[in-house]
Amino acid sequence: MQAVERPKNAQPWTNLGPKVKLSSAITIIAPSVIYLAILLTTGMDFMAGLFTIFLPLQLLCGAWAGYYSYGKRGITDGLLLVVTFFLSLFVFVLLASVLWSVIESGFQALSPHFIYQNNVYVSGKTGLEIGGVGHAILGTALTVGISTLVTVPLGIATAVYLTETRDFGRGTVRTLLQAMSALPSVVSGLFIYSMLILSGWSGYSGLMGSLALIPLMLPTVSRVAEESLRLVPKDLRNGALALGAPSYRAFFMVTLPAAQSGIVTAVLLGIARVIGETAPILLTMTIANGTNLNPLQGGMATLPGYIFNYILLGDPTSIARAWGAALVLLIFVGILFAAARVASAPKKAKKRSAK
């Protein structure tokens, strides 16, 4: 039998004809050039022009390119592509604007002493040469750390409940957890305030703040942990059970190690979720200017609370401080996210030496 030769181009549809290439190039370039020319000659407003001139022009071009390359059926395709790209780019521009403004304005306030000094002798109008967010970083670490200590075991146990048991309430619990993930953060703060502070069991303190973060962190941790536990093949667990292991040892010695990276991701994403929460902190803690490492007593600053306070003060230097703290906060969030991605990245399979 003669061997069938594999075609050189295995994906013939990726080989676009000259018609398609030409019309796509025109579609991409022409509207921008025309719009730029109009913008430069008449000096009209960018945003107004974007929607009244550029977008219709681009739509027209897209429809023409579709018609030119594929005939009548291509028109709607061209329109769809233009709309999709336009809206997606719009979001990316918004995000870039947020990130860029934080980085640009934040760097003006950033300096070594901004990271480690506290704010004892600082008012809204004090220059940027003294004072910093050191106390707020410590406070954030403490409050978020305490809520992590409580939430992580609870969240993982909830994930175990959802994956390992056959209880009838699982569907409801899952729905409830997802509903909790959109719990207004201010309600969580009010809850701790009404339960513990208004009852006189405790004053405003760091511990109250970290308790208020728990309902916000729990859904994220348990959801991601559940996903990762679910990905562990059932056969592994069943094998352990068949070998005579009790369920708890099957879980701790087989399922949990297999899901380890997913659990780490769950913890990191949970921390990233609550590290920037402001409203519950403002309702349950007093924002202090000095360093306070006692979560049971006294005011304690956290980064979001610090940002909020200095925005409210409203002086140019205090706004600059807020931008600086926002940059520090975003850097922390970024580190957490990067760590989560590294942890959840699929590990390269180790080569077996002997098989």
């Binding site: 709607t76 997606s88 909830t158 619990v173 708890y248």
Partner: protein, 322 residues
């Protein structure tokens, strides 16, 4: 020779350690019930005096918030309406963008670009709301006011939504809605992306083979099969938008005395969560009760929206069930 009596086969854990293990898991699973119950219980008993002093309907729909009057007036009507309005407009702005991004990542972009875009959208989801509030106040408000002014000048005469006689375009529901939209786009798009990724590729290929175009595949195949999940994601985002506190607090002018029914560009609006934050600092004891009552209203509304949403999302994701 006797046959040994048959051992009873049990699906229940027999050992003590196993019993403890499953009991702990079960307790943790029910803890979410307990937390929701505790929130509802404590907020309600603390807020009860406020509900008792005023008719609950008047509290929820009346206007005015003043602790200097005697008796003090605490009604959250305009705030409640403002929350709904801002959340709804925010969702209307966010949905097309979110679906476009999900479609772009799932079906259009080559793999490396899709991965980068996913990271970027996730990053957008992780920006804390206080940072978005700072961005909204310092960077976006002037830009948004400029857009609003152009809209108002061009279309205000014909469309009542966009008319504005106050002379200023700052701190309006329009700006707050866009800030909220930036916040919920990643939420909707991540739910939508997950649903899109589970649409059967064979059906799509079949539709293409039958002569479908990109657009007809999206309209006839992808959207109908994923409509339920997208709806759930949108509702989830609606709940998040209603509970948004800090960002709205910075970019919106809270007006307690009258409803702003639909004038999006006028600098008056409301949001329950922001009301709580704005008034909490200097509140009288009576006012605190009213604020807690406002919290109860907010909590109940968001809980209902979210519960419906997550029910729909779960119905739309059968692969999640065992």
């Amino acid at each position: 020779m006797s046959v040994p009596t048959q051992r009873k086969l049990l699906a229940k854990p027999a050992r003590t350690a196993d019993k403890i293990f499953f009991a702990v898991a079960k307790a943790a699973g029910y803890s979410s019930f307990v937390i929701i119950g505790l929130i509802l219980f404590f907020l309600s008993i603390r807020a009860w005096p406020a509900f008792e002093r005023q008719n609950i309907l008047e509290f929820a729909f009346g206007t005015g918030w003043d602790n200097t009057l005697d008796p003090a007036v605490f009604n959250i009507g305009p705030m409640l309406w403002g929350s709904l309005l801002i959340a709804a407009i925010g969702v209307v702005i966010a949905v097309p963008m979110a679906i476009s991004i999900a479609y772009f990542i799932e079906f259009l972009a080559p793999k490396p670009i899709a991965k980068t875009a996913t990271v970027i959208v996730d990053l957008l989801a992780a920006i804390p709301s206080v940072v978005l509030g700072l961005w909204g106040l310092g960077v976006f408000t002037p830009v948004g006011a400029h857009w609003a002014q152009m809209l108002g000048d061009a279309l205000g005469g014909f469309i009542p939504f966009l008319s504005n006689d106050t002379g200023t375009y700052l701190r309006s529901p329009f700006i707050a809605s866009i800030v909220v939209a930036v916040m919920i786009v990643p939420l909707i798009s991540s739910v939508t992306r997950e649903i899109f990724s589970q649409v059967d590729k064979e059906i799509i290929k079949g539709a293409l083979a039958l002569g479908g175009t990109r657009e007809s595949v999206l309209r006839r195949v992808i959207l109908p099969t994923s409509a339920g999940g997208i709806l759930g994601g949108v509702l989830l985002a609606l709940g998040r938008a209603m509970g948004e506190t800090v960002a709205i607090f910075f970019v919106l002018n809270l007006v307690f005395d009258e409803y702003n029914w639909f004038n999006l560009l006028e600098p008056q609006g409301g949001a329950i969560a922001s009301l709580i934050l704005a008034r909490f600092g200097e509140a009288t004891p009576e006012e605190v009760e009213a604020l807690l009552a406002a919290g109860v209203v907010l909590f109940v509304i968001t809980l209902i929206i979210n519960a419906i949403a997550s029910y729909i999302v779960q119905k739309a994701q059968p692969w999640r069930r065992d």
